[in-house]
Symmetry: C2
Subunit: 429 residues, 2 copies
């Protein structure tokens, strides 16, 4: 036995136990438990039974976490890069890739080859928890390519996608700079929030000296379905949200509306197989909404509350009939309703893959909940699929009276990393 084991009679037992287990199933390779002190995850006999042994691959043609069926919980973080050299940035992306590949399979962030005299390689709060469907999705902000003075920070400015520019100022935006933008982003989604928080914390720790969190957002409930296997959840206005969302099962839709194709942007061919992520923190004035009549609420949304059916009739998935008229020859669905203004037929056929989350961050000084929707959407071309629609919504949507956009960011989400490579490698080679 080593000195460590003599001083701590538990160590030997723990390691033996951990070396003998199978972890979260076939996805867990025995190799990752070899060596080190055995601070592994997911022991067979002490796992907290929260379900969620699902795992999604980290490596692949596309990053996971885009068309993956939306998990229940979110921890999103935007980082400022403090490293100043291209090499240090690449080193960070390589380290993040290795850690993400481990954590998404329910394993610790880093193999633990340290002694008792060093800090543990993983922070440990997810030990015993299954992978819980964790996905980690990485993106690059415009400021990674050029700083505020236009300087090429890492020798990649010439390859900045033309679609990757700061989002414009939309009418009624009231953005908090400390909740906006960022050089890098990580979207952690999981069915257990402790697993998502653990992932962001360990990536932040790995980034120490190279990048630091600029802002972060927890989301407690998904507001969109991204798979036909999922029921449509409700937002904090009490309405089903994202009924008409793109679904993972419709590959043709994804190729047309989500994934960047070869030839989309000759100077940024590295984005082929990637996507663009629009992030908007949208505060919802719940107290005001809650004092609005159901009739008015449904008129604003353009759908009924109980089922989410369009006010022109049918069921949730019936196409709205904007021509249908009711009493006094008034349209059943108002021209300023959210459903009509956001509908693809009113936006040149544009669709988005929405992947947002409800949030609440305590309360303000007046005792009102600081709550709303953290809007996340993946699109192939923000310039045609998001910006025109948001301009239209911000000007005409009756719902804007109850909303305030307080954070904004746009990221280029590169294609998936190949095994042995790292996320974003295509940008640096």
């Amino acid at each position: 036995m080593t000195d460590e084991q003599q001083e701590n009679p538990r160590a030997g037992v723990s390691r033996r136990r951990l070396l003998g287990i199978t972890g979260t199933g076939a996805a867990v390779g025995a190799a990752t438990f070899a060596g080190g002190l055995g601070l592994g995850r997911a022991t067979a006999d002490d796992s907290v039974p929260q379900g969620g042994s699902r795992t999604y691959p980290f490596y692949g043609g596309h990053q996971s976490g885009v068309v993956t069926p939306a998990q229940d919980r979110l921890h999103f973080a935007a980082f400022d890069v403090t490293a100043t050299t291209r090499e240090d940035l690449i080193t960070l992306l390589q380290a993040w890739t290795l850690a993400a590949a481990e954590m998404t399979q329910g394993r610790p962030a880093q193999a633990d080859e340290t002694s008792y005299d060093a800090p543990p390689a993983d922070t440990g709060e997810a030990d015993g928890l299954p992978a819980s469907g964790l996905t980690l999705t990485f993106g690059f902000g415009p400021s990674l390519f050029r700083d505020a003075q236009g300087k090429d920070r890492f020798g990649i400015a010439a390859r900045q996608p033309k679609e990757l520019a700061r989002l414009p100022h939309f009418p009624a935006d009231k953005l908090d700079p400390s909740r906006s933008d960022g050089d890098l982003c990580v979207q952690a989604c999981a069915d257990d929030p402790q697993v998502a928080v653990h992932a962001i914390r360990n990536l932040s720790r790995i980034a120490f000296g190279s990048a630091e969190i600029r802002w972060a957002q927890l989301g407690f409930g998904r507001t969109s379905s991204t798979s036909t296997s999922q029921a449509t959840p409700r937002n904090l206005f009490g309405f089903k949200d994202g009924t008409a969302n793109l679904k993972a099962e419709n590959a043709g839709d994804l190729d047309q509306h989500v994934w960047v194709a070869r030839g989309d942007d000759p100077r940024a061919e590295w984005m082929t197989g990637g996507s663009y992520l629009v992030a908007r923190r949208i505060n919802m004035h719940l107290e005001t909404w809650d004092r609005t009549s159901l009739r008015e609420q449904e008129a604003i949304v353009g759908r009924d509350r109980p089922q989410g059916a369009p006010l022109s009739g049918g069921t949730e998935f019936t196409e709205p009939d904007f021509a249908a008229k009711g009493r006094g020859n008034e349209p059943l669905i108002s021209a300023t309703s959210h459903v009509q203004l956001a509908h693809p037929t009113r936006n040149g056929g544009a669709k988005m893959l929405r992947r947002g989350y409800n949030f609440t961050d305590g309360n303000d000084a007046l005792g009102r909940l600081d709550a709303g929707l953290f809007f996340l959407a993946y699109v192939r071309r923000p310039s045609t699929q998001y910006i025109p629609m948001q301009n239209r919504l911000a000007q005409h949507d009756g719902m804007m009276e109850y909303l305030q956009h307080t954070g904004s960011a746009l990221f280029a989400v590169p294609p998936g990393a190949r095994a042995g490579g790292y996320v974003g490698e295509v940008l640096f080679t």
Copy 2:
């Protein structure tokens, strides 16, 4: 058909569908869906499949949410009462009771008897979600009995329990007044955070004009087990927490350490069957902890990290042997370890029922996670079961270097409401 139904072709269908469903099983009485517009919860065909159809009773001798097996998620809110009369305070407690009895059974907060021209009676974001084990636990702060000038606010000062005084200032406390104290508290625990948030939001809405949220705290992961059926979870230091916690199955322990007994306080016999809730927001300096060696971390805790076994040997539930010596005749468990300082044998036999949650509220300006433990503990006598121990921990616990207490409150949690009565009724009769 009514005018409303003519204008909204969905209404009739929705109502018929909702009236015909069985909801979350036997716990849902058909009567609650009678009348109104049928904005009921938990329709059979569109429920979001998140499991969690467990329900706990609201009425009973003790309030639920104390010894109930700790649910996974928390939304806690402290309220300032703005009502000025005893009658208005009672009216609030009555309205809260009715809403809590409904929501804990997976039903809307209030039966919906309004027209389309009124706001919905329930905010709707939990429609389709099961009860998810929701409990709502109510408490009274010292300031409800006497204001800062000592004035009897609601004619109840003579019945203020002697145990219900503001917690003293402990060494190293750095309390934020806007995260401390409060006239009333509501602890909402559920396995789905959207259900807990919905409950606090609707109680806050019902309180409009009588009370407003003073502070609120979301918790994303329970840090204690309160039942022998639950595995011990981990806190954000990566260690199992609450191994030696009181468990619901040990009724003798609960009677001795948790529930107030007749005769405990002659001027506050109304507290019989109730308990005292200590709430402390404890920030954890994760970045510093994460740079500490595993040896030091385990010495501070007094347990090993993988299994949570005491450093004197054995397994998680082995009693620590504080006399056991190791190399150099040093104790295996340090005298300043957390496990030793908090152990009942070092605190006159005092035990607590811990029910805390991990939290993270974004990040600070330096990019560090604003995260830690929202400590909740139920005790029969704070003056002997919490205050002396916390004084000792604050002075000697090696862990204090990594902690900062930023919020503090104490509440008297009355016994459970009887069906037909209201929570806290015993205080007013």
